[in-house]
């Protein structure tokens, strides 16, 4: 094995947007390994996976101004490569005397070799010996290949929001100001948009106030240490870990914990790590009277405007403090703390202004204003949507409750649900939709059922999020999502492949989750019918098509729900194939099936079920059959069992009875030939199997068990 070296490339740019750092970094790695693979330069320990990605000991570094890649174990040069060229048949290359013909000489000349180097062999696939030459291509030094390829690879990155700068036509995510590119200790001579690679780079801006010269990187291995000395932690994971540790200890100092509950909070931690080169978490205070604002408003306002975390006490109430990360090593004079406090106060002033302004008029005043807010072009305004959601709520609430006052409250919640879209606060913080409506209603003295329902009706926001905490909230969420999904389908907006711009799958999943967890006696088919009726006036597609597409859509959502619920594959497949839209029943069957999942008899039952399916494929057996024509003991026994099974209602008991059927069925198939010549006997046997299968299908389609 020849010597290997470590490669290091760092693109030092003006501040790269945090959201592009990881995707760009990853894309370059991918392109770079494709190049290494093509040139036979893959490092020691690299492997190409089936989807074309390369797993390799690459080390990733990124900071606001840097994207860097380090790969140990690259060969110093390509291995020599031999290739064989096949020419014309031997008989055409040499004459009877064994002398080369013109054609033979031309072949040698074409590949730049003397005729004496031409051999005659019979290559695979040829019928006779042919002229063959073996050429040796000498491997080139890796550094040359890198120098040739890198500029193209860098320029070829797909930058989502590319820019130009200065007088150049070059496009990149942000201006490239320095390139560090080493192969071992040697600089790889590349130039990108006029910037030539060197063995130096830049540290933290503040560091260079005292150190005007760039930082020399003597070898790729010393990169992190040299950068650390220049106040840049080049590993984003290391920065995130530092930030997290500091957040936690600073929160603990004031007797609280960091508010880090949802996805957005966790994203903020990543973002903070992405936008600083050296993290220093600072804790600041804000005036305690701002705590009169709803907690959600403070959390969102701090997060969105100030990239700051809130701190909560053990009882869940907030402390008048916040935490954020600065891009420096310390805060010697407290300027960073004071500055952030000052800005935050201004932000909270605004939030308080919105909160006060919005409450000058009852929330219901916004209902009229929803007419000017488009929900979706074909489906009309939010005012129209509200009308549909109210109608749907009425249709479903009357099926779930007999209490008129309760139903009236559900309708009130439906009417108010979208009003907060016209409030100043939601205009400023769209993610507070629902929450603000609920808070404003609470302040107006609305019934607890109503404000809580409005507050939580966007939930579940994702797979990790809980469904609304109250039944009325669940109903409102269900109706709102149902109108969105069915409405969009009715005007032809159906998700396909990776395209689901309106997040209908997520909404559909929410509907299924709510039904699944609430266990309401409403099937998905019922819901679809109710919603189709409500959107009928807006529909542009034939109702039958819409219904069909919706039922298929919900089947997929249900399948995913079963997966989330953790049922085994056999249970999921066979249970949902039987009947998948009545979730209460489906859940009961899945539970019952899971209890039997380990029972070995089910494998045999599955075989029999398949067999029955095949036998009945082209038959249309009658319901009733004459049991007296049955002859064999095994079929008589089956007919007896059928009576008991058909009378059984409970899924568990039924499954036990079906499991007991495994042996008798096997015996039956061994003993008799179903499609016999006697027409009466044949008809009776087919009917018997037909009714057995229907009994199976009440719980599961066992032909899908395996």
């Amino acid at each position: 094995m020849s010597a290997t070296k470590t490669f290091l490339l760092e693109l030092h740019c003006e501040e790269i947007p945090a959201r592009f750092l990881r995707p760009l970094h990853f894309e370059f790695s991918h392109l770079f390994f494709k190049f290494l693979d093509k040139e036979s330069l893959l490092p020691v320990g690299a492997a190409v996976t089936s989807n074309g990605f390369v797993s390799s000991p690459i080390e990733d570094f990124m900071s606001p101004r840097k994207m860097a890649w380090r790969i140990p174990g690259l060969p110093a040069a390509q291995p020599d490569q031999t290739e064989t060229q096949v020419g014309p048949p031997q008989r055409m290359c040499v004459d009877a005397d064994g002398k080369p013909t013109i054609q033979g000489l031309k072949f040698a000349e074409k590949w730049g070799v003397d005729f004496s180097a031409v051999r005659f062999e019979q290559p695979a696939g040829k019928k006779e010996p042919c002229a063959v030459v073996t050429l040796t291509k000498q491997g080139r030094p890796t550094v040359e290949l890198l120098a040739e390829a890198l500029p193209g690879l860098i320029a070829g990155l797909h930058v989502p929001k590319a820019m130009r700068w200065g007088s150049s036509e070059f496009e990149f995510v942000r201006p490239i100001r320095n390139i560090l590119c080493l192969f071992g200790e040697q600089v790889v001579p590349i130039t990108v948009d006029g910037v030539a690679a060197t063995a130096t780079t830049w540290g933290h801006r503040l560091y260079h106030r005292q150190h005007p010269d760039p930082v020399k990187i003597s070898s790729p291995e010393t990169y992190e240490a040299a950068m650390q000395d220049a106040d840049v932690v080049v590993s984003v994971e290391a920065r995130a870990a530092k930030i997290k540790a500091q957040l936690e200890s600073l929160a603990a100092e004031v007797g609280g914990r960091v508010v880090m509950h949802d996805e957005e909070d966790r994203k903020l931690l990543d973002t903070l790590a992405e936008i600083v080169e050296f993290p220093k978490v600072v804790r600041g205070d804000f005036p305690a009277d701002f705590l009169e604002l709803p907690k959600e408003v403070l959390v969102v306002s701090l997060r969105e405007h100030q990239k700051a975390f809130c701190i909560e006490k053990p009882d869940g109430n907030l402390l008048p403090c916040f935490l954020t990360a600065a891009n420096r090593t310390d805060d010697p004079e407290g300027f960073v703390k004071a500055g952030n406090e000052w800005v935050l106060k201004a932000r909270l002033y605004d939030a308080r202004f919105f909160f006060a302004e919005d409450r000058k008029h009852p929330l219901s005043d916004r209902l009229e204003k929803l007419k000017a807010l488009t929900f979706q072009r074909e489906l009309g305004s939010y005012h129209e949507k509200t009308g549909r959601v109210v109608a749907l709520t009425k249709a479903l609430a009357t099926r779930l409750s007999k209490d008129d006052a309760h139903i009236d409250r559900a309708l009130e919640a439906a009417r108010m649900a979208k009003c907060d879209l016209r409030t100043l606060m939601v205009g400023e913080f769209p993610e507070l939709q629902g929450v603000m409506g609920g808070e404003y209603l609470r302040h107006e003295g609305a019934h607890e059922d109503v404000w809580k329902a409005v507050k939580e009706h966007y939930r579940p926001v994702g797979a990790d999020d809980a469904i609304p905490g109250t039944p009325m909230g669940c109903l409102l969420s269900l109706c709102d999502k149902l109108d969105t999904v069915v409405g969009c389908f009715a005007v032809g907006l159906i998700p396909s492949g990776s395209k689901d711009p309106l997040a209908l799958r997520r909404a559909g999943q929410g509907i299924v989750r709510i039904l699944w967890e609430q266990g309401w006696p409403l099937t998905l088919a019922d819901l679809v019918e109710a919603a189709l009726k409500v959107v009928a006036a807006k529909a542009t597609k034939p109702e039958a098509d819409t219904r069909e597409a919706l039922l298929a859509f919900f089947k997929d959502r249900v399948a995913y729900q079963l997966e989330l619920a953790g049922y085994a594959g056999s249970v999921r497949r066979s249970a949902s194939a039987a009947e998948g839209l009545d979730l209460v029943d489906l859940k009961a069957r899945c539970e019952a099936l899971s209890a039997f999942a380990e029972d070995a008899r089910f494998a045999s039952l599955a075989q029999s079920a398949k067999r029955i399916g095949n036998i009945l494929k082209d038959e249309s057996p009658a319901e009733a059959f004459d049991a007296t024509v049955l002859q064999d003991a095994t079929e008589k026994a089956l007919a007896e069992r059928l009576k008991t099974i058909e009378a059984t209602r409970d899924h568990g008991t039924l499954l036990a009875a079906l499991a007991d059927l495994a042996d008798p069925l096997e015996a039956f198939f061994n003993a008799v030939m179903v499609k016999c010549d006697d027409p009466a006997l044949r008809a009776a046997r087919l009917s018997l199997l037909h009714r057995l299968r229907r009994a199976f299908l009440r719980v599961a389609d066992f032909s899908l068990w395996q």
Binding site: R164, W165, P175, R209, A326, L344, K345
Partner: protein
């Protein structure tokens, strides 16, 4: 630091670095970018460095002079550097130091913020510059203006004058800022921002939110548009036509603050401003470069 001192220092700094010192343009506008020194200056191939103060009106931001942080009208200090210099970030940082900000003690960050002005058909990429958690400037590499690609690219630096002043002085209320001192035979009298502007904030907020005549503004909007296209089409006059586009833009902002523009109506109205502004940009470029602007100069990015 007094407001006027801050402005003087910025003007001195940028004049010393090869910028012309321009003046505000005497029409209502929402941002310094709308000043022809930038709108037209950023187009075409000729080098162009200019810096100026621009009072910027945002009717929807009016708070009747009651909110200590937000106002109907604020001052922007605008710098255009064409082509954008390689050390433009360093230059910007030096300008902060010229204001007396000792960066060794502060946290300075460039956080992604891509500017766009749908009514000017202009967009660029860049950052908001954040000092100790406060946005003090907008930093943009112009990619398109008036729907036309910028070649070369200009860097635009926009300083929020009042914000920086408040921040430096630790003020909690914009109206307490000192604009400057009036010195007479009787002594020195500091004049606050509030003395100069608070009543104006009250009246202009009240106008934008309550008293502006909606029908009149709708009529004005249509009339400015008609006038602009007439000037451009009949006379080939892009400067006077552009003024009409600026008036349309402000009229729209008043209607918007007044709550008279529905969400569905809004994109259409903005497009009418953009169409006129973009036509002016094209006419300017043809005039300045002495050649027809090929259709493909309208770049792939497109106005958002």
């Amino acid at each position: 630091m007094h407001i006027q001192e801050l402005i003087l220092r910025l003007q001195r700094f940028w004049a010393d670095r090869g910028c012309l010192i321009g003046q505000p343009y005497d029409l209502e506008k929402g941002a310094g970018t709308m000043n022809p020194l930038t709108f037209f200056g950023a187009l075409g191939s000729k080098p162009w460095n200019v810096a100026y103060v621009e009072p910027s009106r945002r009717p929807a931001d009016g708070r009747y002079g009651e909110n200590p942080f937000r106002v109907y009208k604020h001052l922007q200090f605008q710098v255009i550097l064409k082509p954008s210099p390689a050390k433009v970030q360093d230059l910007y940082i030096e300008s902060l130091e010229a204001l007396g900000i000792d960066l060794s003690k502060h946290d300075l960050r460039f956080e992604e913020d891509n500017w766009e002005s749908p009514s000017l058909g202009a967009w660029g990429v860049g950052w908001q510059v954040v000092l100790d958690g406060m946005e003090i400037s907008q930093f943009t590499y112009f990619q398109q203006v008036g729907g036309l690609d910028c070649r070369p690219v200009s860097a635009e630096l926009t300083y929020g004058i009042e914000r920086i002043c408040m921040f430096l002085g630790g003020y909690d209320n914009i109206f307490d800022l000192i604009h400057g001192n009036v010195t007479t035979d009787d002594g020195v009298f500091p004049v606050t921002y509030g003395q100069m502007r608070q009543r104006e904030e009250f009246e202009l907020s009240a106008y934008s939110f309550e008293h502006a005549d909606i029908d009149l503004h709708r009529t004005l909007f249509d009339a400015f548009e008609k006038e602009g296209w007439r000037l451009l089409k009949d006379q080939g006059h892009f400067l006077s036509a552009y003024e009409q586009a600026l008036k349309m833009s402000h009229t729209f902002n008043v209607l918007d603050a007044r709550g008279a523009v529905s969400t569905t109506e809004r994109p259409g109205i903005i497009k009418r401003v953009r169409d006129l502004a973009s036509a002016c940009a094209r006419a300017y470029l043809e005039h300045a470069e002495g050649a027809a602007v090929p259709a493909e100069a309208a770049g792939k990015g497109g106005a958002k």
